[in-house]
Subunit: 338 residues, 4 copies
């Protein structure tokens, strides 16, 4: 049994907690959150877990093999370092940090200590995306030429959240940029367009609420990412890979397969899944499974911290591109020590 | 150029007329209808055509190679005989006659003279059904085991029409019974269930307005036909063939591919095609093309008059089954002279 | 917490056990199976459960509030009676018994004691079917006129199983017949057609391996059920309700939404769910939830034992219809004491 | 009857010719092509048409009311001017000219003379796109926020053609840029990314064979256009409009609705329509119909010559953006005389 500490009792910490409790090969030993009420509430489901308001205490405790970091972004780097220094494996939610230099520094720190750390880009574990990735790898559609991602959130997040989110590209697009790297390999150029169409207050805080990022890969393939912070019909999460001999697509998902046909509207499906908690429920479970299997085999699988830094670089470049109204070249980079 | 006489200037005669006028290998020489106004109206599109109120005159005229019979059912047998006796090829709308004995007699008459006659079961020429038939013949889904047809008309036909239609099975289901024979081969048993759910006046004239026919083939395969005389969402024409290694389905058709996604209804298509004039427009064109090519090659293709008799036998058996609340065995039969 | 005894450690008992363990409002206290190894194996997931080879011991134990009967069919009646006599609520897998008289006798026994018993027709709890049922009840498609069910198993069950199954209609079609009653209300006539197309050994034991049942409801609506015991492309479970103003359909389900487009095949989905364990996983969970909520409110919800008897009557009638090649009328019946 | 001269007997001239011959309200009086054999071949279908190798002769003949210009691009401007000067209505294939200044000059010329000219952006008349445009105009999806177009040709055109095509943006993307203007209104910025992934010879002639254009509208909406010059699975022509309350999509089209389900591939459709001749057959017919109805009402409908110039401006801007790796602002413009 792998003993897990979950740091952060918010929405995502709660998903991880439930998955740790349900997985046969894991046991939850610690739960940490400065908000003791949130931590205690979550701990009710796990009678024997120890609760603390000190994240580092949980992340370094003797009866912990692995730490899941689901606390606010500014705390990630210190927690990763502390956990790695204590010999723990780490699964950290994105992003490593909003500051690229701090993220790179963390990467170097972990690499220097041979630390085991995995980035929580859970979409790589979505069964549909993963099946497409496997099929692409098997050459099912020939050489990959274009990737198109449409990714829209249900409701505009609260302004408070947006203000500290690092901007749409670092907060939301970063998932899609990781998908672009996963499907296309290294990216060499990013070009971004931003929109303020949903709520003028987003513009007031200097952010955008929709936009498009076009990323060119070293291979010559191009990824097109269309984002919006609000979508009337649910969580819009589609992806298609176009290759020299075919195409693979991920359709949206709904809770049922009901098709309604009325006089002037035929074969209508139900509303799509509401949000990531529903849409990516299986991704979080499979991510935990991969993390835990990796620990058991002493080989934490990708996405790595380097993948986390690389996606952040692309998000930063998109932000720069937005300001200069032009393409931004991405210098080649490699994981430390390679 | 094959010279064609069209008998009947109604809805179906009009389709045939337009197709004859548009086809490069045919010329329309005669148009006949006792209703001279209808005939003249239709003839406006064809400046050089001769118009008559005497169907037999058109069907036997010297400048006619082939006759398309689209007049009322009671006139079919005499017209087929007259045309065949005059050496013309015939394409006759279903049914041959509402009386099975008269239909069989006509078949014997034509066979004895080596006449060339084709039944207007146009659905065999629908591109979708034809593609499925070809794929089935190529063994794409293994051995055929079950056929399911859902066939619903848009609006209940006028009572006048229904009264002289021979009943739902002979008028409407006969198309589906021909499909069953086409896909499954000879039928050995028919079992029918009737409904009166749409309009009580249909029951008053001794007919049904919906129902199900289950037909068992010599091969062991079973066809299930679900019919209704009224459908709120357009012309519902679906068919699926289930085989030992797969399934082939024909979906409904709509004028456009628009998909509408709103808050609580996703990927909705537009209303289906209204009725057979729209849904089977291509079938009529391809039927004419097959007929004409057959004439040119001196081998009028199926469906034959025998197919017309056989489908009528099944419709009659369904009617009998309805009355006795039990299955009706179909004796084997073969085309005359085989 | 509702204390549950599960009787039967086979495939379905295992599903129920896992759901009882996972549900927040239930606790598993007993697990019974004459096969002690199967029981112990299943009990490994539940440290504090008591295991017995005596089903009645578990079904009547003091620390049990409700019994889930998932043992072989011949044991159902005695277990239901014992549990009800001991004041326990019962959830019993279908069928009550293969003998209609024994099933009716059991129903009378339970009714006389005011027993609380529910039939495990889990499909009523499938989210898709349930959503359709709700929409139909709300009048979304007008008056219900036709129900079409296509229900095919993945692989032919072992001959041993088939030999004691009571025949395809009582074993497999019974689920669809319950759906017919659920959507259309009381059934007044059944007409059946059988096929032997998959494996001749099924015919050798006097059973069929495919077939069609047409059931007419008191309301005038008709249900058409197409069954096969083997399906090359997964578990084929479709249902459509046709009403005076529209149609509601349940499509097949697959593990992912991947769509594959290659040169000659576009938008292809993945293989459907394998079998009922996958396809109806949510149904079993929601069924348990309804059962447990019913116990808490002292009102065990439908499907009732009466529903179990009524579906068995229809399966028996289908069997009779098969032999006599004709329709079988279903006499009206009501739950005892109504 | 409107008397039409068709200039150009190539692939597109041939489509127009057939449509003119089939339309009830038009008659074909002249057919012009310097390649007399091509002209004569096409004229075989129209016995009374006059054939010439002199386009201007046809375009200005007395027995001509309207001219369809389907000759090579460099001839367009002179033909438009000649026809307008002779008082004819003109329907001209895109682009007006590869040189923006010449195109603008032509626009001024026609406007000064009150000429009636329409641009052959036939996609505006595609039934699916037109239905979406109407629905958008009716506010069915609220305020338009994002437009995504995926537009891929079947096979890479011959190098000869590509060399004189003006480049992918002017030759192929121009249709999509017109769609962007049609759905979003005036465009204020264009950003382009190019790819050389299909055939290195395209790069050798200084062109791209795939790419992405992102166009921002004055309204704040953004259009994303993904293009490729070769597509393994047919002619890929999709479009979706995302609005504040919903989404409208145009799916790809296939010749039949056959769905094939095999062991590991379910609901697969047939190959899509091959190319624009099939996919946009109805568009060309409806375009002609709108043109002719406009002439009859003395109000030639859009797309206008101004629309042709505006789309060319955007294509030029995309080309500039490609070179400078940055966004290009589009100055506002208005039709002459407004």
């Amino acid at each position: 049994m792998i003993r897990i500490a979950v740091v952060g009792a918010g929405r995502i910490g709660s998903i991880h907690t439930q998955n740790v409790l349900a997985a046969p090969q894991t046991t939850l030993t610690w739960l940490a959150d400065p908000n003791i009420e949130a931590a205690n509430r979550l701990a009710q489901q796990a009678p024997h877990v120890r609760v603390t308001t000190e994240p580092v205490e949980a992340a370094t405790a003797a009866d912990v093999d692995a730490v899941i970091v689901a606390s606010p972004t500014p705390t990630h780097v210190d927690l990763i370092k502390a956990a790695v220094a204590a010999g723990k494996a780490v699964l950290c939610e994105k992003p490593i940090d909003l500051d690229l230099d701090r993220a790179r520094d963390c990467l170097v720190y972990v690499a220097a200590r041979g630390g085991r750390a995995m980035m929580g880009f859970n979409r790589r574990f979505d069964p549909t995306f993963a099946e497409i990735h496997t099929a692409v790898g098997q050459g099912r559609i020939g050489k990959v030429e274009q990737l198109t991602i449409i990714s829209r959130d249900l409701d505009l997040a609260p302004l408070d959240y947006l203000t500290s989110s690092g901007g749409m590209f670092r907060d939301m697009t970063i998932h899609d940029l990781d998908m672009a790297r996963w499907f296309l390999g290294p990216i060499t150029e990013v070009q971004a367009t931003g929109q303020n169409i949903i709520d003028p207050r987003v513009g007031d805080i200097g952010d955008i609420d929709a936009g498009v990022v076009v990323a060119t890969a070293e291979s010559g393939a191009v990824a097109t990412i269309v984002n919006a912070r609000r979508c009337a019909f649910g969580y819009d999460q589609r992806l298609e890979v176009f290759g020299s001999s075919g195409m693979l697509q991920a359709a949206n998902q709904a809770p049922t397969t009901v098709r309604t046909t009325l006089a002037h509207s035929t074969d209508a499906g139900p509303r799509y899944e509401e949000f990531f908690l529903q849409r990516y429920a299986a991704s979080y479970r499979r991510e935990l499974d991969a993390f835990v299997s990796g620990i058991a085999a002493d080989a934490v699988p990708p996405p790595s911290l380097f993948d986390g830094v690389a996606a952040l670089e692309l998000a930063d470049a998109a932000q720069t591109s937005l300001g200069k109204r032009g393409a931004v070249a991405i210098p080649p980079s490699e994981p430390p020590g390679t």
